[in-house]
Symmetry: C3
Subunit: 278 residues, 3 copies
């Protein structure tokens, strides 16, 4: 970290330009869009023993953390659904946010694609358990317009995977696979054929959304720093901006904690510096 970055003090940060009431109202408004209820459930579920936690969820978790336009609500819900499914520790919140995704206009098919996308980053159990939660969410919406996508396995997954790997990860992904040649060549082949040939190439969820989900997952998990760096590059490669990278990582502070977000920003800093030098 160079001196230009370090010479400021904490007080160089400026206070929020909003009042407590403004943040609470903004949080309520966001939660109405996402949660679909006039009064957010979290206020009632915490009222009896921890009303301040409910208020902070509304005021900070929504009224500050989500209250800017750097990402759309659809993008935010894609990121949050992916992260919570990957974490595997928050089934109740995953259900709320799958509903939230549907409420803000993410289609059911897109929700399913996000959950399938988690398999490569957090394993099949996380993806399957996420699908089980989505099933309940869909079931509770009579008249939901949803036909499951069944692509089946398509030919030429190797060629398709190589092309998709280059499109998303460019040099960074290529280097990962090459580095596996001498020690674990099958794992390299699985990345090309399964991760990129099968999953990344699926229709129904655009590449930028996939990379937003991936950056969110790798940030929230906290165990995937090298992959987070590769996919911050990836998000930038497929049309994401630095602002969007920073915003989706920052959003993870609410769902996975500040350490996860801080360590994600550290990864972003390295990637931005690499790209500036290149």
């Amino acid at each position: 970290m160079n001196s230009a970055q370090n010479s400021g003090t904490a007080s160089a940060t400026t206070p929020a330009a909003t009042t407590a009431d403004e943040r609470f109202e903004r949080g309520l408004a966001l939660l109405r869009e996402i949660g679909g209820q006039e009064r957010p459930a979290v206020l009632d579920s915490t009222a009896d023993i921890a009303p301040d936690l409910g208020r902070m969820t509304v005021s900070f978790g929504y009224g500050e953390l989500l209250a800017n336009d750097r990402l759309t609500l659809k993008q935010r819900q894609v990121a949050t659904v992916a992260a919570l499914a990957a974490m595997g520790t928050a089934a109740a919140q995953l259900r709320f946010h799958i509903d939230g995704a549907l409420n803000v206009g993410v289609t059911p098919a897109e929700v399913v694609e996000v959950l399938i996308h988690t398999a490569g980053y957090a394993g099949f159990p996380a993806a399957l358990n996420g699908i089980a939660v989505a099933r309940e969410a869909f079931r509770d919406r009579p008249g939901l317009a949803f036909e499951p996508t069944e692509t089946g396995e398509r030919d030429q997954r190797y060629e398709r995977g190589l092309a998709k790997l280059a499109e998303v990860d460019g040099h960074a992904g290529d280097a990962v696979v090459a580095s596996l040649q001498d020690i674990a060549p099958d794992l390299g082949r699985y990345i090309i054929e399964f991760a990129f040939g099968d999953v990344y190439s699926r229709p129904g969820l655009d590449l930028k959304s996939r990379e937003l989900a991936t950056v969110a997952m790798c940030t929230a998990l906290g165990t995937a720093a090298p992959q987070l760096r590769v996919h911050i590059h990836g998000l930038l490669n497929v049309g994401g901006t630095r602002e969007e990278v920073v915003e989706v990582i920052t959003q993870m502070a609410g769902y996975a904690g500040f350490p996860a977000a801080l360590n994600g920003i550290a990864a972003a800093r390295e990637v931005f510096a690499e790209r500036a030098e290149a």
Copy 2:
């Protein structure tokens, strides 16, 4: 790692000075205090298929790991409740240890404050799910004296946050926020205003308990090494001793495994060396 530290061999460690029966009896006694039952439930729940695991939980998990006075039982329960809530993978044990906290004299209000404190380190889902477990624990204690604290949001959270950040983290926290200026200034503001202005400044749980909980969480999670170092400094800054730092990290071996504890001790070693040089 320098040669002075490495020159010993494993056998320089000395055996426990207790017998198996002594450790088992000591574990039973501790579990009576914490669990409130004459015979610990873990012996019955494991008797049919894994009686040795039940015995080891009593003898080692309590009769060795917790059987010293470097931390009080209240401090141990604060650390364990925070860690288990942050991990999000052990709801049954979280319930047991919330009850255990109440049994050893942690007040219900303090339990709630510990759980609110987890939000910044493990995310709002972990905190909300922990509060849900606490609700059940409180409900099952008729006559429990508990009125929820509702501070609401207080003015001047920025100034209050800066002051609290300096009080807890001194230079280390200041550097974290400053490093965010050029890349993620909002995240820096959230640390000052939310993490320190809103949460750390709350009444109802003293600063040393907050830092014991934080060190426990960052150790147990295993994904927050930079933050663990900052908060080992923090615990020492607010009156904790090196012995207490080592003890709370070691305690996490029982709840999150030896790797988590070992990696926590490695962080402590770095922090102690930094402070010795300064």
Copy 3:
């Protein structure tokens, strides 16, 4: 990473030599052995909203990832049961794989030993919650031949632990304990007496299986890189081959995601290089 490893490109990896149908059939066959059902449950549980995920679980998760003889199915199930129990986020899959272990010939006593073994790496909650799942699995098999092992605590756990530590970890484990002398001597003693004297020395699960489970857990958790390196050495020390090391780590891609497996392979690369130099 040296140039010899990096000079290849992603396309140096070769495509799978199988067709989609062959992989699906191979996956079905493996799932029949492991799951004990003619038609794998995962196809039915995903048919309504994510049939492609069910197909990919069969074709890739089993028909590719598990479809070689580098590890036996018993070894694979030992690794998977340990990893899922350690992760603590996949109770449904842990149940399936405990049943799977029994179906492929892992004895109930061995299943219990695997779960006890997780306590040192992921904490007592993970082990106890795993035992609770195993209890249900055993209960649903009337006539299962199982008598719980009760060794009780045996004398001379310190001497036994030192010997077992040397047998498994050689220099690497010795260095870990020695490094703790000056900062956390109790933790060093717990490793010798509890981890090795009590758990590793238990009858009922051979040392190589214990190290396969340990490598699997440390890979899946993603928070234990130093310990993963120690135990890759350990697996090689007790008769495992490099091929088996790479295979068990690769298998974790299916249960914990590709980042976990990739970071595990990076650890294996370091260990192989150390051993080549020595």
